[in-house]
Symmetry: C2
Amino acid sequence: MKATGIVVEYNPFHNGHFHHVNQAKQLSGADVVVAVMSGQFLQRGEPAFADKWTRTEMALRGGVDLVIELPYVFATAQASEFARGAITLLDALQCESFCFGSEQGEIEPFVNSLELLEANRQAYDRLIQERVQTGISYPKALNDAYLSLTHGLEGFVDLTMPNNILGYHYVEAAHASKSAMRPLTIQRIVAGFHDPLQRGVSIASATGIRNAFFEGESIEQLSAYLPQASIQLLERFHAEQNGFVGWEQLYPLLRFTILREGPTALARFADVTEGIENLIYDAAKQAGDFESFISRVKSKRYTRTRIQRMLTHIFTGYTKQSLTNGQPEYIRLLGMNKAGRNYLHEQKKAIPLPVISRAADLKGAMGQLDIQASALYLQAIGASSLKKEYTTPPIYIGGNSAK
Amino acid sequence: MKATGIVVEYNPFHNGHFHHVNQAKQLSGADVVVAVMSGQFLQRGEPAFADKWTRTEMALRGGVDLVIELPYVFATAQASEFARGAITLLDALQCESFCFGSEQGEIEPFVNSLELLEANRQAYDRLIQERVQTGISYPKALNDAYLSLTHGLEGFVDLTMPNNILGYHYVEAAHASKSAMRPLTIQRIVAGFHDPLQRGVSIASATGIRNAFFEGESIEQLSAYLPQASIQLLERFHAEQNGFVGWEQLYPLLRFTILREGPTALARFADVTEGIENLIYDAAKQAGDFESFISRVKSKRYTRTRIQRMLTHIFTGYTKQSLTNGQPEYIRLLGMNKAGRNYLHEQKKAIPLPVISRAADLKGAMGQLDIQASALYLQAIGASSLKKEYTTPPIYIGGNSAK
């Protein structure tokens, strides 16, 4: 059996994701699609809209054959670390290819850009440093440096687009680890990453869908954008948890935690740098809701995403000391269908990492952090479900998937 | 003007307290009653039933002339430290006497016991150590040692009674600091410290009153036990905060904090000793409510009060490192009436500590801890009121107090 790997958050799983899964299978010619999915906290520094089991089941119902968890340390990191963790796991799972959605839509520009930057690494790093020192954000500095090298010529990937950036890092990570996986990309269609919901179009961004929910739209009203299985699963989660999850819902706990730590101690959490701890502390003292809190902290230099990542680490108690630059240490199964199970069985001996089904088998610091982050998320959304992290086995759905 | 000092929690202020204030004035012949009151967290390791301003106003309406705050570090400490902080402050405020309620009801036995223990300090300490090593609780060991010295003879104070214990520590603290204050005591009447509410009797313990509220009795139904002013103020607090405060209400935040810290880090908080951090952590993982949590942690050796004090320090982030064995550094005014204000004005030059009206003027670590504990309490009971700690001036009521 041949597998293609994808890197996902499914926050939530919508029609665009369904399209991506199908395209990945088609383009790669693979028998199974393996997804490495973030757990309860996501790359933009946010708690997941619905818990990881709900999102796993959406993925399986939407055509994914095997879902494994991207450990917290990678799932909440900046793009290069995020990509390194995800690609390492897909490679360990013996995927023959990996396939990502991008604004670019073709793989050659990614490869061209990688070769260009590899060949001009020193000049590139120097240009980035120069730009950073002017006080602009790091992503902006990266892009300025990149444009200085490509001179805006065609044939290179446009690194102002968020999915292109992630995709570039996947390609780079696969190259750096000498992976044999073929890189593939498909064109993202219709809705951009952050686009608001557009009526009369059946694909919308996950951000647009989440915002529509938070602004009071019912799940049913959004049925044009979500597979039927996603709607049912989201309705179940919504009923059980009295709503969906975002920073606004977790703000009372976040605020309590910030005030309790105090400004000096805040500096010890991962990614909290350069005196911003005082700004975070003062904002928490003043702001009664998350939006007014973040608007007091973010700036041209500190983007919302960067701040949110700090907040995620403060929330979960992830300190600089606990930072590891290590490799993924395990493959934690979140769910599979029959084909996924068969694939796993077939590849068992080739997979160089332990395959973990029960949280209790996660022994090291990296796994403990996954458990802790998940338990805190679960407690924050309703104490009754706290045991889930310790007791939920991988989800298995017997039949074949259908929309 | 002559003042007598009292040490109070007023959780809440009831008819028994009203009686105590009047008796203190009468017995001492003082013109004003000065109360040193705990803030948002209390000596038994519990959050206050109602915030400190509500309790201050109840005190003033009930006949107290001046209310100052006992700093957190003393208010949540074991009896000897609690007493040392309170007595030091009353002495600093130039009280001519201090007056406490006790089961004993007469002051001579306290003085006799003090002299006996002072004279046999080494033997006493050795007896305590021997008893502790048998695995019994510290309070029990203290009492066993004490009985070995007094041989159960009359003329000594009965140190099995909670108010006698506190009273003994007041007398001891005043003696140790060579205070000129006269010690006075009045008989506690009718209801014991922890007695359940008894119908047809107009004095009930604060514990009994709180339990009755938590079990669903209305404030109005308890009017036989509370001055009219207390009822009105409790009704106001109840309406503003959607209820009264106890560990059960704060448990989601406490549980989140315990899980977030993890067992190893829990050991760094004040009073958390001897491996109990693992028990606390595991109980938080399992228990969905506070009562089932504490029943998993408490034992013959670790009393409920001792555990609750650990929990208070975990909740407020008060570590062993931040422990100070220092003296009270300031007198923080919570409220006064006209007589209290006059007294303060008259004694101004004699008071050896800074008198603080605004939280912003609390500069040292001891004061910062008071602010932090109060802010966390306020955030826990409803974010809208968080600013109170920083902006509330001392309460002033112009007229004379009446029931």
